[in-house]
């Protein structure tokens, strides 16, 4: 095909399109596409994130108020509001003998609340360890993240009831300060592990899971 033939063919096709359509019509269709596009999420990740989890209601008292020592305010850049974790999506605040009780988000062990003690009390005959690891859990109803001390009760052999293995906030064993596989009985008279508590020690941030509130830091 000669170049002139190609030019003529192209010109004829373009003139045909121009004769059958208007510039206004094209603009209107393009604008409609722009307006409608956000209504149809394209990626499955986006659709999955849009599904809201079920949220039971309850409230949580504080057992231990940590001291405020007037620390300086500036720290690293603020964190963005975090979406709910797998644990957070199933957490409840009514039954402290169930593994999905909100404070147990990092518990690995037998629940003291099933062993004659409570969420923050040791069973009779055991000794509360003075050492612990400290993590944080999102309360399912007030959208706040609380600091939780995971303390073990020691001195009697394993309780054996209500074993839970949650891992939120724990670190690998080479960062042992927040590892939940460690038996946290350091400082007690016996390293014999009995059960695990989840002691509430303070508020970490407000509105942790909500996009409507700014994080506290």
């Amino acid at each position: 095909m000669k170049l002139n033939d190609f030019d003529r063919l192209s010109e004829r096709a373009l003139r045909g399109v121009a004769a059958r359509s208007s510039r206004r019509g094209l603009l209107a269709k393009f604008a409609a596409l722009l307006v409608a596009a956000p209504a149809f999420p394209l990626l499955p990740v986006s659709r999955a994130a849009g599904k809201g989890p079920a949220r039971p209601t309850a409230s949580g008292p504080a057992e231990h108020s940590a001291p405020d020592r007037g620390a300086p305010a500036s720290v690293d850049a603020p964190a963005a509001p975090t979406p709910r974790s797998d644990f957070g999506a199933q957490a409840q605040a009514d039954d402290p003998k169930a593994c999905n009780y909100w404070r147990y988000c990092g518990t690995d062990g037998f629940l003291c609340s099933c062993c004659g003690g409570g969420v923050h009390t040791c069973p009779p005959g055991t000794e509360a360890s003075p050492t612990m690891w400290i993590g944080s859990c999102l309360h399912p109803s007030d959208e706040r993240t609380y600091l939780i001390a995971y303390r073990d009760c020691c001195g009697v052999s394993s309780c054996g009831d209500c074993y839970c293995n949650n891992t939120e906030g724990e670190t690998p064993v080479y960062r042992p300060t927040r590892n939940n596989n460690i038996i946290w009985c350091f400082g007690t008279s016996s390293m014999e592990y009995h059960c695990s508590m989840a002691v509430l020690i303070g508020l970490q941030e407000k509105c942790a899971g909500s996009v409507h509130c700014l994080p506290a830091h």
Binding site: S74, D76, P130
Partner: protein, 141 residues
Amino acid sequence: MRRLGTLLACALSFAVAAQEPLPPVHIVYLKHCGGCHGIQGISAPNTIPTLKNEAGRFLCTDEGRRYLVRLPNIARAPVSDQLLAELLNFVVFGLGGPSAPAGAPRYDATEVAALRKQPITNRLDVYRQRILTEVRTAGCG
């Protein structure tokens, strides 16, 4: 009636204040240090050093001041130089309280950045004893 209103207002403001988040550096202390050293800086004194009313005495000597930053778990803590400086100040001046010598300068990010590049890697127990002896000789603790 007015007195009752004032009382209610006070109770309400106290309740709101009690629900304020802890300061960020306090949270970092609790999550990285407080599990072993204790929420208030005291846990198991025979095995874990007490910080409350004691940590500040290391600032009585220059080497003691450097020692605190060079402790392996401090030097290698997964936080920025700035945040580590604030954490050290929280421990020595906040938890340490009156144990810090009067007029001791606060840590800053520049000082911390240089010192944390030289973590103690050998015979920490022996080095610690020497530092403590020097601190006592200097009249602290």
